[in-house]
């Protein structure tokens, strides 16, 4: 299997300025191509900025929008992951990430878990996705897309890996907070994310790629620190925190096979058991189980 060069576009999108961000995407896709990348990844809402509030409706695009087709065309010969506000035919707004390949939108993931607590208010402005599915890709392996909070639910990486992903890609707009000096990287948010990425990579014996934005929207500062973690849980690459740039990392996709032969965790998974127990738990939580105690 060919080595793959991944380009992480750790950008600072301009809030609400779709055209300016689109231009920046085109520039960086060209730059990634020039550097020999086979996959270029942009952060969550890289085309619009994060703290949109009521602007979300103004910057939403349909999947047949020619501007998305233009990005797909620009990325021809590579794979690209871009993120934007998707408006569905029935006018729901989703936070979406799309895999662009061969001039087409190969796959769209709509953010499933919308944080609406603390500093987040996503459910007020967006609809939640209902699907977690891996997709085949021109890279020769399955790809699993997820957006930020989706990875604060262990079900997401688990489902994606079980559905055939070798490469789990999380695009994020993670605001930095909790500056306590006791954290190993000086920022509580970053320390938590770093733990998650390593854990998921090891438990799913997959590559995990985290692409987080930088810059400032209103009060929020985004911390970057994009990463590539190998299927053993070892760090392949870490981008600097807070620094804008296009960072590349080389991976050997064959490492997934080697690790899964050595450590056959996915082989030994018991999805039928999980599904059976989930059915029971779901019924219990809905008050439908025969002996539902509460």
């Amino acid at each position: 299997m060919q080595p793959l060069r991944i380009a992480l576009a750790q950008i600072a999108p301009r809030l609400g300025d779709l055209e300016a961000n689109l231009t920046r995407h085109h520039e960086l896709i060209a730059e990634a191509r020039g550097q020999g990348a086979g996959l270029v990844i942009f952060p969550e809402l890289g085309l619009t900025g994060y703290q949109l509030q009521d602007l979300a409706a103004d910057v939403a695009v349909r999947l047949d929008d020619p501007r998305l087709a233009g990005l797909a065309e620009a990325a021809r010969g590579m794979s690209a992951v871009v993120s934007f506000v998707e408006e569905s035919a029935d006018h729901r707004l989703f936070i979406a990430a799309a895999l662009l390949e061969d001039g087409l939108i190969r796959h769209v993931h709509r953010k499933v878990f919308l944080p609406t607590y603390g500093l987040f208010d996503e459910r007020r402005f967006f609809a939640a996705g209902d699907v977690v599915r891996a997709t085949p890709s021109r890279l020769g392996v399955g790809v699993g897309l997820a957006v930020c909070e989706d990875f604060w639910h262990v079900s997401t990486p688990h489902l994606l890996a079980m559905d055939g992903a070798h490469l789990l890609i999380n695009v994020s707009s993670s605001p930095g907070r909790d500056l306590a000096s006791t954290h190993d990287v000086g920022l509580g948010t970053a320390a938590s994310w770093r733990t998650l990425m390593r854990t998921y990579a090891q438990l799913t014996t997959s590559f995990v790629v985290f692409c987080n934005r930088v810059g400032v929207d209103e009060s929020l500062s985004f911390w970057g620190g994009s990463e590539v973690i190998g299927p053993t849980g070892a760090t392949v690459f870490g981008a600097p925190m807070f620094e804008e740039g296009l960072f590349t990392a080389d991976i050997e996709l064959g490492d997934v096979r080697r690790e899964r032969i050595t450590l056959p965790l996915l082989r030994d998974e018991r999805p039928e058991l999980v599904a059976r127990e989930w059915d029971r738990i779901v019924a219990g939580r809905a008050g439908l189980a025969e002996d539902a105690g509460q």
């Binding site: 809030l15 509030q53 602007l55 306590a180 500062s221």
Partner: protein, 304 residues
């Protein structure tokens, strides 16, 4: 935890830093510098103006702004009243000299005395204003300084940078539309103890860090004698109560005095109005702050 100043013996700490409040100052500087640049860029401004009192809060913000955009784009305005401490003035000048930024001296004495009157002669505020309480005078001074800064923001073509810290904001030790007025605030989420830690890290003069905090509304006034507790204690109460959501009972179990916690609670609740935008009576279909919610800056909102 105690932090010694450069060149001072360790038995003379510059300030007391409760360990749970210690921050990574490198990350804080990075975040704040990006924040300052981002606020200015999104608004279409290149320069900043702030009121420099000689105290640690405004000194720290001056250092942070200079670090973010360069001292040549910063204007520090010193606005003493006739009773203001000459030492404060000297400390403010030391900060300006250390940074090499622009500065201006605007005395507010005539503005304040013109309202309250002076030497038994009434001002525009009427004869009763001659006997105005320190509270009225202090608030008025803070608002004259605000008016001056916003005027200078036009001539300097700048945004007004806030210099209030989290401690004074939470207990309401601020003047509404006075010292609390600003375009953005880089240190409003840092407790006083954290302000001190960051001030030491960025090189604020040691005399400014060491001296007792004071609103300087009358000679000899200090925050801590007025409030009756020290900043490290107050900061710890606020941190555990607000940031870590500890109940009063849990606070007492941790060793805090119940009376202190309850008093701080009342100060927080009593000053909630100072931390929020005034409510608008909801009448129309879309109301600012209620169901008309936009970022402060978006394409087209930057000053051309």
């Amino acid at each position: 935890m105690s932090v010694a100043g450069a060149g001072t013996p360790p038995e003379e700490p510059m300030f007391e830093l409760p360990h749970e409040l210690a921050i990574d100052t490198g990350v804080a500087r990075r975040v704040i510098a990006d924040f300052i640049r981002g606020q200015l860029r999104q608004a279409g401004f290149e320069r900043a103006v702030l009121g420099l009192s000689g105290g640690i809060d405004s000194a720290l913000v001056a250092f942070l702004v200079a670090e973010a955009i360069g001292p040549e784009r910063l204007l520090c305005v010193m606005m003493p009243y006739r009773t203001s401490s000459p030492a404060s003035q000297a400390d403010a000048e030391a900060v300006v000299a250390a940074l090499g930024c622009a500065s201006e001296l605007v005395e507010i004495t005539a503005m304040v005395d013109g309202y309250f009157g002076v030497d038994g002669v009434p001002g525009e505020g009427g004869p009763d204003a001659l006997d105005a309480s320190p509270l009225r005078r202090g608030n008025f001074m803070a608002r004259m300084r605000m008016a001056t800064l916003y005027d200078r923001s036009v001539t300097w073509r700048a945004l007004v940078v806030g210099t209030g810290n989290k401690t004074e904001s939470l207990i309401g030790y601020t003047t509404l539309f006075g010292d609390a007025a600003c375009a953005f605030n880089p240190i409003g989420d840092l407790y006083k103890s954290q302000v001190r830690q960051l001030a030491a890290a960025v090189g604020v003069p040691e005399t400014v860090i060491r001296k007792a905090p004071s609103a300087d509304l009358w000679p000899g006034q200090t925050d801590e004698t007025e409030a009756g507790f020290t900043y490290p204690v107050l900061d710890r109460v606020l941190f555990w109560r607000v940031d870590r959501r500890r109940s009063v009972d849990e606070m007492v179990a941790m060793g805090f005095e119940a009376g202190l916690v309850e008093r701080v609670d009342r100060m927080i609740a009593g000053s909630e109005f100072k931390r929020q935008v005034p409510p608008i009576a909801k009448l129309g279909p879309r109301t600012a702050g209620v169901d008309y919610l936009y970022p402060r800056r978006r394409p087209g909102s930057a000053r051309p």
